[in-house]
């Protein structure tokens, strides 16, 4: 369980996290979503007791992160999978970490097996591919069998097989009753694994919801129509609840009416319909919609380029 209350973090004049309040509960995978630079990593560093909040509080399993007698047993974290000594073997990396807390040596072998690194455990960690490094990071996070697991962009840069493995691992951890908090800047990576969602932008909370509600609340699906009389059909469809826009190729984009109703209206007016298709709002669109005001860096397209 992670409880964050009125959390603010400033670095000099920059406010990285501003007045965040949310709770991450055990037994589910909670996605932590936001554009790059939104303050996800900063928040995670505070959860791990690495950065001190400017104001507000973080507790993990009921206590301040730095107050635990055996932090590795309370919260396991992976911030940067490349944060290993390049010539130390994966095994010794994990062993040194385990020794700080009196975690038995056999547990190192257990987590090495759990992430499938047994055959390369004695090799220098600096020679690992990104996928292997992510697995090593997960192994380190699981070393103390923690009740809470915090992973920063764990699927970033993984291949398809690696992503599938990671999803399985996260789901498995949640089913064991652990609190699993996973950040990403890509909605699609999160939606298939997480059931809860915390969305932040520019350091502020945008949404604290379930994945299902988030998708439902996002901009509704629209319908694409081409017909023999586009202006006429548009005039018929427009109403206070229905918006009609014209796409670049001349097709009408109608939101607020299902495709069947549009077809019926066109038929009733004697307008021949050439195309009628529902355009689903993708998760990514929903996410971009929600965070568009909170993107710190946005590409500026000049008039000349248009």
């Amino acid at each position: 369980m992670i409880e964050i209350s009125e959390l603010t973090k400033r670095y000099g004049p920059t406010t990285a996290v501003s007045d965040l309040t949310f709770t991450v509960r055990p037994g589910t995978v909670t996605g932590f979503l936001g554009p790059n630079g939104a303050g996800k990593s900063t928040t995670m560093r505070m959860i791990l007791g690495l950065d001190e909040p400017t104001s507000g509080s973080v507790t993990v399993n009921g206590r301040a992160p730095r107050a635990h007698a055996a932090p590795l047993h309370e919260v396991g974290g992976m911030l940067d999978p490349r944060a290993v000594h390049p010539s130390r073997s994966a095994y010794h990396h994990l062993l040194a970490l385990a020794q700080t807390t009196g975690i038995r040596r056999s547990r190192v072998d257990e987590v090495v097996d759990a992430v499938g690194l047994r055959s390369v455990a004695k090799r220098p960690a600096g020679k690992f591919s990104l996928g292997m490094a992510q697995r090593l990071g997960i192994a380190a996070a699981l070393l103390g069998d923690p009740a809470t697991v915090v992973l920063d962009e764990p699927v970033n840069g993984l291949d398809v097989e690696g992503i599938r493995w990671m999803r399985g691992m996260l789901t498995e951890l949640a089913s064991q009753g652990k609190t699993v908090f996973v950040s990403s800047h890509l909605m699609s990576e999160i939606a298939q694994t997480a059931t809860r969602l915390i969305v932040i932008g520019k350091g502020r909370l945008i949404a604290d919801t379930s994945v299902a509600d988030f998708i439902a609340s996002a901009a509704p699906a629209s319908v694409r129509v081409r017909s023999s009389d586009q202006p006429g059909l548009a005039a018929l469809l427009r109403s206070p609840d229905v918006t009609v826009t014209v796409a670049d190729d001349g097709a009408l984009l109608v939101s607020g009416l299902p495709a069947e109703r549009i077809g019926a209206i066109a038929a009733g007016a004697g307008i021949a319909v050439a195309e009628l298709s529902t355009v689903e709002t993708s998760l990514e669109d929903a996410f971009v919609d929600l965070t568009k005001d909170a993107v710190e860096y946005r590409a500026v397209v000049s008039q000349e380029e248009k």
Binding site: R66, P71, L72, R82, A83, R88, H92, L97, T100, G102
Partner: protein, 261 residues
């Protein structure tokens, strides 16, 4: 011992595992030994070829420090070892993993200090004794001195201890600056550049201030008969050297304990 809990002893064990599995650190340790032994033998051979001339030169000839001449070079390797032990963690980001496991943080600094002191003493005491014996054998019956002569054993062991404190100095500078290049530069500055600057002061002032500079103060312990005009008493000087290291370690501890990792 089966309860999961962070203890100073466990962190020390963890730091030992890291030291022995970090090739860069092991190379620094090996370099220190090689420099002590090889340069001591080389300088002893040189002094045999050019023995002291005249009564005054013969009287002030110190065969112990001749054989320990390599300590002054090896202090760089020992200091770099200390710097690397902490800055390599900042460079890779590993420090965050380490401090997330040990959020009180200071056990990590003390663990590294204990481990680096132990490792340097463990290799430098035998190296110093070996090079002393080899050096005396080279210097021959007329120039050599025995380990049992007054002040000699103290100088030999002192030379080894000096290297351990140089490593602590490096560790403290590395922890303060969090950068390998910065830490090594500061170490060179403190041990070599500051004495040169002080040397530009008028003679007596330079000697008086010079005595208290870290390197000069620390090396007093390696001299059998230190010259009171330019050097503190052996253990006083070593104490001053230790004080520098402790003050810098305390500053590093404050920096590490407070604020962001």
């Amino acid at each position: 011992m089966s309860t999961l809990q962070v203890t100073q002893a466990r962190v020390m064990k963890s730091e030992w595992t890291k030291l022995r599995t970090q090739p860069g650190a092991l190379w620094s340790l090996l370099s220190a030994v090689i420099l002590v032994v090889a340069f001591g033998i080389l300088y002893s051979l040189l002094r045999v070829a050019r023995p002291p001339h005249g009564a005054a030169a013969t009287a002030s000839f110190d065969p112990t420090s001749v054989s320990l001449a390599g300590v002054q070079l090896a202090q760089v390797a020992a200091g770099v070892l200390g710097v690397l032990l902490i800055t390599s963690e900042y460079a890779t980001g590993l420090i965050r993993t380490t401090l997330a496991a040990v959020p009180r943080r200071l056990p990590t600094l003390w663990g590294k200090a204990a481990v680096v002191t132990g490792a340097v003493v463990a290799v430098s005491v035998p190296a110093a004794v070996a090079v002393f014996l080899a050096g005396q054998a080279i210097l021959g019956r007329h120039l050599s001195v025995s380990l049992g002569a007054p002040g000699v054993a103290r100088a030999v062991i002192g030379g080894a201890l000096y290297l351990a404190v140089a490593a602590l100095l490096g560790l403290a500078l590395g922890a303060l600056l969090r950068s390998t290049a910065g830490g090594i530069a500061a170490l060179f500055g403190l041990l070599f550049a500051v004495p040169i600057l002080v040397g530009f002061l008028p003679g007596s002032l330079a000697d008086e201030i010079g005595k208290y500079l870290p390197g000069t103060a620390g090396l007093a312990v390696t001299s059998v008969h230190p010259d009171p005009a330019t050097s503190l008493a052996p253990w006083t000087g070593f104490g001053v050297f230790c004080a520098y290291a402790l003050v810098l370690l305390a500053a590093a501890a404050v920096r590490m304990r407070r604020g962001d990792a």
